[in-house]
Symmetry: C2
Subunit: 94 residues, 2 copies
């Protein structure tokens, strides 16, 4: 299986609200993707501008198909545009 922890920092409170709205849409769509075991967006309780996606995939093929999906290609760039310095993606195989 694959676990992703993807962190990002937003620039303003307004951007944070937009990122959460977009992120929640991505969560809802991604949970329907083949091989998606879990998918969530989380906000830090100590660093007000930090958020993370936490995802679990059954295998690399499912993750690749997800990253090729219309919802991923539409939403992720919109979220990245709201970040201070892009997404920091950390991948774990288990």
């Amino acid at each position: 299986m694959i676990r992703l922890n993807a962190f990002f920092q937003v620039k303003t409170d307004g951007d944070k609200l937009k990122a959460i709205e977009l992120g929640n849409e991505l969560v809802a769509e991604s949970l329907k993707d083949n091989g998606c075991v879990s998918y969530g967006l989380f906000t830090s309780t100590t660093r007000h501008d930090v958020l993370m996606f936490c995802e679990t995939w059954t295998d690399q093929a499912s993750l690749a198909a997800h990253m090729d999906s219309t919802h991923f290609k539409r939403i992720v760039p919109l979220i990245e545009a709201l970040t201070a310095n892009g997404m920091k993606l950390e991948k774990f195989e288990f």
Copy 2:
């Protein structure tokens, strides 16, 4: 290195506030522990009762010392008492 994702579900909104208060105290103390690379508490944007700790440790010895620390032994049981069914701990070595 070691990444921990520890998930828990709280029973009430009041318990959530208490868990965040305790969790933030644990974050502040744990960031001072030897070998602690990162340590954060996060709340889900889509599942109102779900939270997660996300931690990174340089090695097992540092993690073990952390789990033997007074702040860990004092705070974690208090947080666990607020959960619906304990902490779900997921550990990744990288």
